[in-house]
């Protein structure tokens, strides 16, 4: 063994492993050429500024994430937004992060600028009409941004907040609706799992009933639910179980032996306890009630007009 290497800790990040890129450095590299997709970010300089994660686990390998994102780009070439529902659970099951780790913006900056800048451009470059002369650019928050804006972080957090224990099906549904994905993720009410599941139940019923302009309904509903939350304690009406910490940590530790996620079947998430069905039922009834009131208010407005 090379003693020189073993005595000196590996201080710089390498592209085959996921590392941490300070967001300040990352933002300085987001010039117009990068945001327009005309030039890739300066990988060598970015790697030099990054730090490796001090953990030998296979979950920090960048290869599986690359493979997944390339598959997403190939599958959803014609409908980029549809990639979200496919990708969110699979990304979540590939990365195997805790919330504490996922709250680190440097991690997402590394993924956005070093591992997958092509995906960020592919997914978020705006479509503009030909007469528009300016080159369309991606918002910088898609590369370096918060839980609800960064291109990969938003998918991971959606999967995390909407999964029902090991079952990703609700998360897949949530990410299949851009209004749920975009508005709901910005609201702190979704931190409460029974609330999140109950909102999805109402949205699913509206979708199944073929409700026109579903997006408007979803926005009105989430707003009304948030207003209700300022005087009602949802956690008291529909209590949640404590998360099973051991189940989550086992799943994270299993990353070394887990096979790559299936492309055609939903993977299993961490088995950290399902959402209590009784609590979801109570809150679903409450939100259906709120939705009925909204519908009545709408009817009154339209008949008055």
């Amino acid at each position: 063994m090379n003693t020189d290497l073993s005595t000196r800790p590996a201080r710089t990040a390498t592209a085959d492993r996921i590392g941490l890129l300070p967001t300040g450095v990352a933002k300085r590299h987001l010039n117009r050429a990068v945001l327009a997709g005309a030039e890739p970010p300066a990988q060598v300089a970015l790697l030099r500024a990054s730090a490796p994660v001090d953990d030998a686990s296979a979950r920090w390998n960048s290869e599986p994430v690359r493979v997944l994102l390339e598959q997403a780009m190939a599958r959803f070439e014609g409908d980029r937004a549809a990639a979200d529902a496919w990708l969110a659970p699979r990304l979540h099951a590939t990365l195997r992060l805790t919330r504490g780790e996922a709250a680190n913006k440097d991690l997402w900056a590394y993924l956005g600028l070093i591992v997958a800048p092509d995906y960020v451009i592919w997914r978020h470059r705006p479509v503009v009409a030909d007469e528009e002369r300016r080159t369309p650019t991606v918002q910088s928050a898609r590369f370096v941004g918060g839980n609800n804006s960064q291109a990969l972080a938003r998918l991971w957090w959606a999967a995390e907040l909407f999964r029902d224990g090991a079952d990703y099906a609700p998360a897949e549904f949530a990410c299949g609706n851009q209004d749920v994905l975009n508005t709901a993720l910005r609201l702190d009410i979704m931190e409460h799992r029974p609330t999140a599941q109950a909102v999805l139940r109402v949205v699913r019923r509206l979708a199944d009933a073929g409700t026109p302009r579903l997006g408007d309904h979803v926005n009105a509903l989430t707003t009304a639910v948030r207003v209700a939350r300022s005087t009602l304690v949802f956690e008291a009406l529909g209590p949640d179980e404590l998360p099973d910490e051991a189940g989550l940590l086992d799943w994270v530790a299993d990353a070394d032996s887990a096979p790559p996620v299936s492309w055609d079947r939903l993977p299993d998430g961490p088995d950290d306890g399902g959402v209590p069905a009784a609590s979801v039922a109570t809150l679903t009834a409450l939100f259906e009630d709120i939705n009925t009131h909204l519908a009545r208010a709408r009817d009154r407005r339209s008949s008055a007009a």
Binding site: R99, G100, A103, R186, M190, E191, T223, A236
Partner: protein
């Protein structure tokens, strides 16, 4: 229960919350890590060899409610919950407390799982009751939440800005090279603001550590005040830049230090406005550009007040006057 008006009867008295004991993976946490006056618990550097590896801290809590008011009030099904949350990790844990008949207080324990947190969690208490035929109404909440800090070794509430001394030209941070002649650089993109001091500026570090005579000490204080003032200006703009509005036109305040900086400085920047109005005004000025430039002078002023610049300048002027008088005498 606060400035907000509620369309139903709420408690006038404030619920109070105390953390009575903290166990980390079953072992009792050193009392020095818990500060009752600062309402703060430090969870970093906890004894043992494997200190970074603890998994769960169990917080034993005791809440005192305005019981007389409750006894006479119109509420039923009243109960009390402890709420542990950290916005950065989208985590909120709510635990019911049980009323202890002997002491009349509400008690229970709340688990804090390390994996679900990153830097700072807060712990507060809420009182929930049925009002009329509506169950689950929020009728009271504690005002001063406890702070549980995963990155601090000492239980202090106010975090200090990180100060890093590096050589801008030859040091490890490549991105600092263009600023090689600057004495300091303030970075506000991370979890905490960081001030980089340039070791390439001869004597700066030595001066700031200040072991010289009165004139050197006064100069150090002045330079320090200038750095702190710059830091406040930079932090204010970083926080103001992160303000957003949601669908209903409410201003969303960025969490963490950005919120603290805005709340601390806005009374001096936009005096006479309530915090909410001041945030709206700030966002409007930023977006429309109208009155943004006039705001700058006030931001400078508010920052210099926070940095005690007027006081330090007066002290330095006095020290240099005395020193020159001493030289001519």
């Amino acid at each position: 229960m606060s400035r907000t008006l509620y369309p139903y009867p709420v408690l006038f008295g404030r619920p109070e919350l105390e953390i009575t004991r903290v166990r980390v993976d079953g072992r009792q946490l050193d009392f020095a890590k818990i500060s009752h006056s600062q309402r703060s618990v430090a969870l970093d550097g906890i004894g043992g060899t494997d200190d970074e590896k603890w998994q769960t801290a169990t917080l034993d809590v005791r809440a005192t409610l305005p019981e007389e008011e409750i006894a006479d009030g119109p509420w039923s099904e009243l109960h009390c919950v402890a709420v542990l949350e950290e916005a950065a990790t989208e985590t909120r844990i709510v635990r019911r407390l049980i009323k202890d008949r002997a002491s009349g207080t509400w008690q229970g324990s709340v688990p804090l799982h390390r994996s679900r947190h990153r830097s700072r969690a807060t712990l507060g208490v809420q009182v929930v009751a049925a009002v009329g035929d509506v169950r689950g109404r929020l009728i009271g909440r504690s005002e001063n939440d406890w702070v549980l800090d995963l990155q601090e070794q000492l239980p202090v509430r106010d975090k200090e800005i990180d100060i890093v001394e590096v050589d801008f030209r030859d040091g490890p941070h490549v991105w600092l090279r263009p600023f090689k002649d600057a004495p300091w650089f303030i970075e506000t993109d991370g979890d905490m603001p960081t001030v980089y001091l340039n070791q390439g500026v001869d004597g700066l570090g030595l001066l700031l550590r200040g072991n010289g005579g009165p004139a050197e000490k006064a100069t150090a204080a002045l330079v320090n005040a200038q750095i702190v003032s710059d830091a406040w200006v930079t932090m204010f703009h970083a926080a103001a830049g992160d303000l957003e509005t949601d669908e209903d036109g409410n201003v969303r305040v960025p969490p963490g230090w950005r919120e603290s900086v805005l709340l601390a400085m806005l009374p001096d920047v936009l005096p006479g406005l309530s915090p909410t109005d001041a945030l709206h005004e700030l966002l409007a000025r930023r977006e429309d550009g109208d009155g943004w430039s006039t705001l700058q002078a006030r931001v400078q002023y508010a920052a210099s007040l926070r940095a005690q610049l007027p006081k330090q300048l007066a002290a330095t002027l006095r020290a240099t006057t005395l020193a020159s008088e001493g030289a001519t005498r």
